[in-house]
């Protein structure tokens, strides 16, 4: 189920980026060829990045892809590794709430002062920031749920499951995935 969730978020992210690429490409070519600016695409790009980032954080989180240095980790006992994996997940949970807290604060300020983007479009910032808040909340929710799961496993002293589900994505897994994909492409070639 987690994989489906990550796929869903990933597709949302990818589709937005592809759509944005087409828009930006068209705008750039039209602007350079006819000196006519469609205007605002740059600004939209910024908003899309702000909204897409928490979604991407969530995808990386579900796939345990956030950068961790496992030089020492891989040399520790199974139990110590499991505890560190739970602590790492907890720390990501806290980070997500920290980010959400400031996101809420920023949005409240925007609403209070009716802030407007310093751009020709003068977009009221509350529009993009509301969607940003939803994205950030989604990231926080994902992180909190995963943290709860990690803590339950920790309480149940289920070291194996903790290491399997919350261990840093090893280079071996990444490589295996690459090799699998390379094989698939080779087959399509023939």
């Amino acid at each position: 189920m987690l994989n489906t969730y990550a796929r869903f978020l990933g597709v949302f992210f990818g589709a937005s980026m592809i759509l944005l690429s087409v828009l930006i490409a068209v705008e750039t070519i039209v602007r350079k060829s006819f000196s006519v600016s469609l205007g605002g695409v740059d600004e939209w790009g910024g908003y899309a990045m702000a909204i897409g980032a928490p979604i991407a954080f969530a995808v990386a989180l579900v796939e345990q892809a956030h950068i961790r240095i496992n030089l020492l980790h891989q040399r520790l006992s199974r139990r110590t590794r499991a505890v560190l994996n739970a602590v790492s997940m907890l720390s990501m949970g806290i980070l997500s709430l920290y980010l959400l807290y400031f996101t809420v604060k920023t949005v409240i300020d925007t609403q209070t002062y009716r802030s407007i983007a310093q751009t020709p479009m003068a977009t009221p910032l509350i529009y993009p920031q509301s969607i940003w808040l939803v994205a950030m909340a989604l990231f926080a929710l994902t992180a909190v749920l995963l943290t709860a799961r990690a803590l339950i496993l920790l309480a149940g002293r289920d070291w194996a499951a903790l290491n399997q589900q919350f261990g840093p994505a090893s280079a071996q897994e990444e490589l295996d995935a690459e090799l699998e994909d390379a094989k698939k492409r080779k087959e399509m070639e023939q």
């Binding site: 944005l20 954080f57 240095i69 030089l71 980790h73 560190l84 990501m92 492409r185």
Partner: protein, 435 residues
Amino acid sequence: MNIVLVGIGFAIMLGLMFLSLPVAVAIITVGALGGYLMYGMPLVDMMGGVIWSSLNSPYILAIPLFMLLGELLLRGGIADRMYDALAVWLGRMPGGLLHTNIATCTLFSATSGSSVATAATVGTIALPALQQYRYPIRPSLGSLAAGGTLGILIPPSINLLVYGSLANTSVSQLFAAGLIPGLLLAFSFSAYIFFFHGNAGKEAAEIVNVPLSEKLRLSKYLVPPVLIFGVVMGSIYGGLATPTESAAIGVVMALVFVTGSGRLSIDLLVTCSLLAARTTGMVVIVLMCALLLNVTIAMTGATQAVTQWVASFGFDRLSLLLVLLLFYVILGTFMDAMSMLVLTVPITVPMVMSVGVDPIWFGIFIVLMCEIALITPPLGMNLFVVQGVRRDGGGFNDVIRGSLPYVFVMVAFTILVIVFPTIVMWLPDVMAGRR
């Protein structure tokens, strides 16, 4: 703020990372706690206010777009055929297919930002051929591991994009600065093969003795990657488009080529989207946390403390850079390239600028350091990947030994760009009309 406190902060950060906590968490913990201890809640609030402005950025948008471009070219099969196309041209040089490894990695680098994907793809295609023609194993593995590192120097490079955001420098200029050193480094690798492994692959000569018509036929596979690279980089260098805009044009071109080759499918788009989202999440969260840490660094005067401390040694430009070279080579043996970059840039950039180093030049220097980090044991990502790709069951030591000469080539090359900074600065200077 004194230097001891900065040192303690850095040590805590390293300690948290060694406990295998996520790098983003280690950075933000020191940033937020450090800020809180020095100035209380107002500083932490200030950091919070930066989250929106650090993410709402058309510059950072270039990261997911270049990721997506790389995935489309790789998963769409456009990158795979480059090896065959290059092998027929380069196989007869002294050193044979080893040059093909370097050249394919170079071209691959110009399209993909992932060194794992580069080494895995080129390795899977190259190693069977190398073994069939009895190429010595160590130089073969070394050329793949080292070739794979070129990806982060030759633009488009995610590492340069991240550096640009952290050091507040122009990404277009950085991309311009990376091109000539990237190509020269690839030539240096080839020169090393030419002189030290010139005898390798003598037996392979007959396979590559193919008629010119066949060579030209295979060369058509080079057209899409070269064309995309040309348009993307050309539009940046010509000042026609920002890196984000050119990345978007690249994505559209890649979609057209993948459609043309009949490989476009929903499945492909889903895979590319998911992978681009994952790597974007990985990189951008670390970048965002580093930008938040920058607030603390700026407010607490940590930069001045470090700069003054370094000045007290009376280093000139040359000696400071040599010390940093040593520092980074050591740091890179146990730290991954991206973490090393985000962790040190906020401090080292002001440090070197105080002795007159151009931040654009320093970006290239630091990426060279990241490249070395990728092939120095015990934690060299590319060493591990190349070892994982081989199927002959040999020991890890072969990869380490095979790659070691390239570490020396890179260190020598870095010293060369320290002595002749023009190698880096010529193209960005021309672009900016300074030359």
